[in-house]
């Protein structure tokens, strides 16, 4: 039990600080206490959350995926193109976009694995490619769905105030947590991140796992794009700019180690919520110049990661 406590300390510490942050915000700002605001923390950050879930796998495997923001934008454009301009039904267009996202990710994973190129570089190139493709898909850089009724009604769907986006995000977290803990594939991800050459020498299936991880990240990003289209009824080539950095931050704040091998999706959920709270707080503060939004977010981020760091230090002692 004791051992378990220490092993899960980073997660616990993150959870405790998240709680402190939430309670602090709730005391300072009455509106923050509402159920409505609570559910919005999930809905408003579903795209980021989905990207972060995929990113968790990639980082756990010792890699990084800088393309997710661009893939989100590209997926949103593709979906809007297929469902809007080409009038495909949503049940056909959405899977097609998901498949494209996964294929794109798998392609990058293939390059990374087969040619031993650094993931940072390949996915940075992937970012430029996906963003460029998204921009080329329409001269207006934006495709509006118009009166696409199925999408419109999906956007208004709620379960106990959770929007569809929030539900998809939560489902992705659950499934990923299960896969990472209970599936051989998930454990192999950890092994690769822990020591890639060891994983290979242990006879583990490195290639499919590695490529699969990037495919999954592409898939999650595409899902993020779809969620965005459902929420805003338009594809937009300039959304999610540098969102990958927020996603990485969420993953790292959630206790996943950038070098790979250690971390969890649950942590990522906490990380996303922390970012969500931090970026929501400026909306509650009275009469500040617009640059205070950035300063508040930066300061809270600093405060939070330092707290986390201190708690880790404290445990080590």
């Amino acid at each position: 039990m004791r051992a378990n406590l220490t092993r899960h300390w980073p997660l616990l510490a993150t959870g405790v600080v998240l709680l402190a942050l939430y309670i602090g915000a709730a005391i300072a700002f009455p509106g923050f206490r509402t159920w409505f605001q609570f559910t919005r923390l999930f809905s408003d950050n579903a795209t980021l959350g989905l990207a972060a879930v995929g990113m968790t796998f990639v980082i756990l495997s010792g890699g990084i995926d800088l393309s997710v923001g661009a893939v989100i934008a590209c997926a949103s454009m593709m979906l809007a193109l297929l469902a809007g301009e080409l009038a495909w039904p949503l049940w056909l267009a959405a899977p097609a976009v998901l498949a494209a996202g996964a294929a794109f990710g798998a392609g990058m994973g293939g390059l990374i694995h087969i040619f031993r190129l650094p993931p940072f570089l390949v996915t940075l190139a992937g970012m430029f490619l996906a963003r460029g493709t998204a921009l080329l898909l329409s001269p207006h850089k934006r495709i509006e769905l118009g009166s696409h009724d199925s999408v419109r009604s999906l956007s208004l769907l709620h379960v106990a105030d959770f929007t569809l986006a929030a539900l998809i995000f939560l489902a992705a977290v659950t499934l990923s947590a299960l896969a990472l803990r209970w599936m051989r594939w998930g454990r192999t991800v950890y092994a690769i991140g822990s020591d890639e050459s060891a994983a290979r020498l242990m006879g583990l299936a490195v290639a499919p796992t590695r490529i699969g991880v990037y495919a999954l990240s592409g898939l999650c990003a595409a899902a993020g794009g779809i969620v965005h289209v459902i929420g805003t009824q338009a594809g937009d080539a300039s959304i999610a700019f540098l969102l990958e950095l927020d996603a990485i931050a969420a993953v790292v704040i959630g206790g996943t180690v950038l070098a790979g091998g250690r971390g969890s999706v649950l942590g990522t959920l906490l990380g996303v919520l922390i970012l969500a709270i931090i970026t929501t707080i400026p909306g509650y503060v009275s009469d500040l110049d617009s640059w205070w939004t950035r300063l508040i977010i930066g300061a809270l981020l600093l405060l939070f990661v330092s707290l986390q760091r201190v708690s880790q230090h404290w445990r080590e002692e």
Partner: protein, 309 residues
């Protein structure tokens, strides 16, 4: 079990009678240009003047942040929301929430596309197409209906960029001699405007007669590029732009810029008038158009001291 939102009770819009100040949320796009900063300042100043407690959220050009801000305004039951939407679509879910919570929404500087226009109270904005048209008309006259024009576009896909392009093209259409030879995005920034202009000048030396920039910042960048190429801006190459910020007037006084079409960012007074009217139960027109004017070098010197932004 699925259910559509029926979120909140009626909000307390009777706050006018109490001593508690009005609380208004303002979801601003960002601070990407002088024009935008002027708009923010105008709204803040007006709020201060009227004793309104303003919640300002700078969304850094991201719709998701704007939605986040509006949701937080709804959660804290503000009395009204002012929204400067970064794009036109995708507001239906969040505006539906605001409506259900009984919070009126005033749009400033661009509109939104929603299936039910009761989702917002009114739109206070300039007509971007008209601005583009006015710029074209001024230039057509100055060039006597013939010449090569290069265009510095705004951020691709943004409403001002596409409308100002559209309006300008409409405006020059009657003049067969006027041609847009090159058109690239300068992303509304000075640095990009300069870089693109440099490339234009290099690609076709001596063949550019006029520059049309979608905002003043890009025009100021282009002026520098022209000067560095050894030409005289405003004389060798005519320059017309939109917005009418103070720096543009200074450039006109110095003879480097020929014309700017005003796009008035001082929407604060109008916005808070609208807030107070709607909270008092008055009905407002769906669209309040801000009147914009054209300024050129002949009037610049007189007007410059009265410019607030």
């Amino acid at each position: 079990v699925f259910a559509f939102a029926s979120c909140s009770k009626k909000s307390s819009s009777d706050s006018g009678s109490e001593s508690k100040p009005l609380v208004v949320g303002f979801s601003q796009i960002g601070a990407e240009s002088s024009w935008r900063t002027a708009e923010t300042k105008s709204i803040r100043d007006e709020a201060k003047k009227r004793g309104v407690d303003l919640r300002l959220y700078d969304a850094q050009q991201k719709q998701e942040n704007q939605i986040k801000a509006i949701n937080s305004f709804i959660a804290q039951r503000v009395d009204a929301i002012i929204l400067a939407p970064v794009v036109e679509t995708g507001w239906e879910p969040v505006l539906t929430q605001a409506k259900a919570a009984g919070i009126p929404v005033i749009l400033v500087d661009r509109g939104v596309k929603v299936s039910d226009d009761s989702l917002y109270t009114t739109l206070i904005a300039s007509d971007f197409v008209a601005e583009g048209r006015m710029a074209a008309q001024w230039l057509a006259k100055a060039l006597n209906g013939a010449g090569n024009i290069v265009e510095l576009q705004g951020t691709p896909g943004s409403a001002p960029a596409s409308d100002r392009k559209k309006g300008f093209e409409e405006g020059i259409a009657p003049h067969a001699g006027l041609k847009i030879t090159r058109s690239q995005t300068g992303e509304f920034t000075r640095a990009k405007g300069k870089e693109v202009m440099e490339a234009f000048l290099k690609a076709a030396p001596g063949q550019v007669n006029a520059v049309y920039a979608h905002n003043d910042d890009m025009a100021l960048g282009a002026i520098q590029a022209i000067e560095e190429a050894g030409l005289k801006p405003g004389t060798d190459i005519l320059i017309v732009s939109i917005d009418g910020v103070r720096a543009a007037f200074e450039a006109m006084v110095a003879g480097k810029l020929n014309c700017t079409v005003e796009c008035n960012p001082l929407l604060g007074p109008a916005a808070f008038d609208a807030v107070e009217m709607v909270l008092a139960g008055e009905t407002l027109p769906k669209n309040i158009v801000v009147q914009d004017r054209v300024f050129d070098q002949s009037t610049a010197a007189e007007v410059i001291d009265s410019r607030e932004y």
